[in-house]
Symmetry: C2
Subunit: 405 residues, 2 copies
Amino acid sequence: MASDLLPVEEARARILAALSPTAAETVALPDGAGRVLARPVVARLTQPPADVSAMDGYAVRAADAAEGAVLAVIGSAPAGRPFAGRVGQGEAVRIFTGGFVPDGADAILLQEDAVAEGDAVRVREAVTPGRWIRRRGLDFAEGSEVLPAGRKLTARDIGLAAASNNPWLAVHRRPRIGILATGDEIALPGDPIPPGGIVSSNAHALAALVKAAGGDAVVLPIAPDDTAAIAGVAATAHAFDLLVTTGGASVGEHDLIQSALGGEGFELGFWKIAMRPGKPLIWGRLGRTPVLGLPGNPVSAMVCGVVFLMPAIARLSGLPGDPPPTRRVLTAVPLPENDRRADHLRSVLSVDEAGRLVVTPARVQDSSMLATLARADALVLRAPFAPALPAGAEVEAILLAELGI
Amino acid sequence: MASDLLPVEEARARILAALSPTAAETVALPDGAGRVLARPVVARLTQPPADVSAMDGYAVRAADAAEGAVLAVIGSAPAGRPFAGRVGQGEAVRIFTGGFVPDGADAILLQEDAVAEGDAVRVREAVTPGRWIRRRGLDFAEGSEVLPAGRKLTARDIGLAAASNNPWLAVHRRPRIGILATGDEIALPGDPIPPGGIVSSNAHALAALVKAAGGDAVVLPIAPDDTAAIAGVAATAHAFDLLVTTGGASVGEHDLIQSALGGEGFELGFWKIAMRPGKPLIWGRLGRTPVLGLPGNPVSAMVCGVVFLMPAIARLSGLPGDPPPTRRVLTAVPLPENDRRADHLRSVLSVDEAGRLVVTPARVQDSSMLATLARADALVLRAPFAPALPAGAEVEAILLAELGI
């Protein structure tokens, strides 16, 4: 029966192949952090705009500044107030970090290597030509690309875009992700819980995951297990770049989603994925809106969120949508041979005395246990049919903090 | 002269010792991600609320379910719709994942180990008592603490708080951080640039850093190098949990800030820190508002932001304010012996063929180069007087992506 299970990588590749980045919008510089550039940022000026001093001291002609020489101080050049004159033979100009190097000078005598003597300065240590001068354009030149399209902007990038005189940025619009939880048995926190029911946790946990991935989450009201109710919500799918459903992805429930969405002109794919937790997945398109149906089990929903939804949001945001980054870490305990499903062991991270990262999978990996998921720092990846490993062996793990979740 | 330089750790410890967490506020569950709990989250229900099935199958009495036995199916128990009756001898109830285990049953016969025969089911594989049953309270019990105070909430925690029926969360208020850039020579991006001036990048880069650290940033208008202007802004400091200035922290400029803030009843500390880049730092208190003065050099400002400001915001947010997390990585190139200043080498990260993280420090570490900072993935830490290291040696590095900047 292995043939009816889709490998994780293939499912993710099919999802990503069906998605394209959102259109560009213009945002003000301060709103750019965390967004993905739709167009490169080009420097609108040269930085530094002229040769400037890298230190506090004196702008001099290196040929004059032998040890013991005394130079006449003819002016000063603090940052932002260039000295208008020219440094002639036997002359110096007091200069500060970032000050423009005046005409005639070709080196900076450090403050600590100089002794001020009234209107003159005595050289305590000779300087070489070019010393402590930052050349014009050292950082960037006008017209050069300082940040490429497709880059997710950091705080440092915001600084670079500002310094290169860009008040506006062209970025991909944040993907709008509709989230629809279905099920007769679920209620929102604080609402009355139906007999035998449980409190819905998926929609808001997934909304936080969507936000961490750079999307805007729209949590839709819970839909009961009822064709008309689900179809009614589905009719609004055009408002979203991606509609995520949760619940309705097990074998029987799948038929309900199928028939509810079928009336909306939907061709639905239903995949059983070779993974644990979270094997069933719905994938299709409702009009122009892609639909990702996650399992109703909360742990499965979050793990599938990491494995499929976060890359999908990255792709919609203008990024490649790479698989979640993994690190090689050491397992604290022996791991049994794996079966045909890729496993994602909820694990706690620690650092051993040698500074290496060590993972300890939770003893009980029951996919209903949200407390175990919340306490986990990592998902240890076990490939299909991975051999047994002794304690201390290297394994690949997704570190959840690196995903911001 | 080493004695006049304050070690990084001591400066950070003094800053943290002067700060306390903001007061608590109530936020709705969906707004809780990334916030720090001011009070524990306590489960308002038991999950699962009863013994439930972990799989699709049949609820049976294990004593009856020998291989080949045929049991009468007397009803069904899907999730959310408990079966009201009792499973007697020779009887079974169709059950689905999450369905309550009916009275009388003590095990689940898996669907794949059963053959439906009209109103009966034939057992293909015997079951043991308790098999595939999730016990009441397996995840959490009513009244138990599911998330402790002081925890920064993840998307998974939001799921756990929801599942335990908590629509509201008590979290620390986001710290409000005022950011004041000073200097005659700086202009905002797109504004006219004064002769010899540069475009201000610090305020907006720091604002993005503040946001990444969980604070609310308020960027104040640029203040010229003028006592009255700086004093005017300082008079509004009470609106902030922390006022950050940038510029005015070099030796000469420090006097200006000192005299400008002095009129506001400010006792100002001025520290030269044993670090590179970014040695001068202002630290003090204006009324009840702590003030952190960062260097005007943009690279120094950001590195000091990582080293001092992010831990300060963490402390204000209700976290301990630990030093930035570091990882042991390998240096791709030999590193020279370090001098008395802790160095923070802007470095690019890569992964070698063995899956290990490798850092390559930028060849030119000039602290004016924003493009180098933007391209960096890591700050390699070099302790004061650290010995020379060969290529391939282990070093400690701050990975900037882990800080979200």
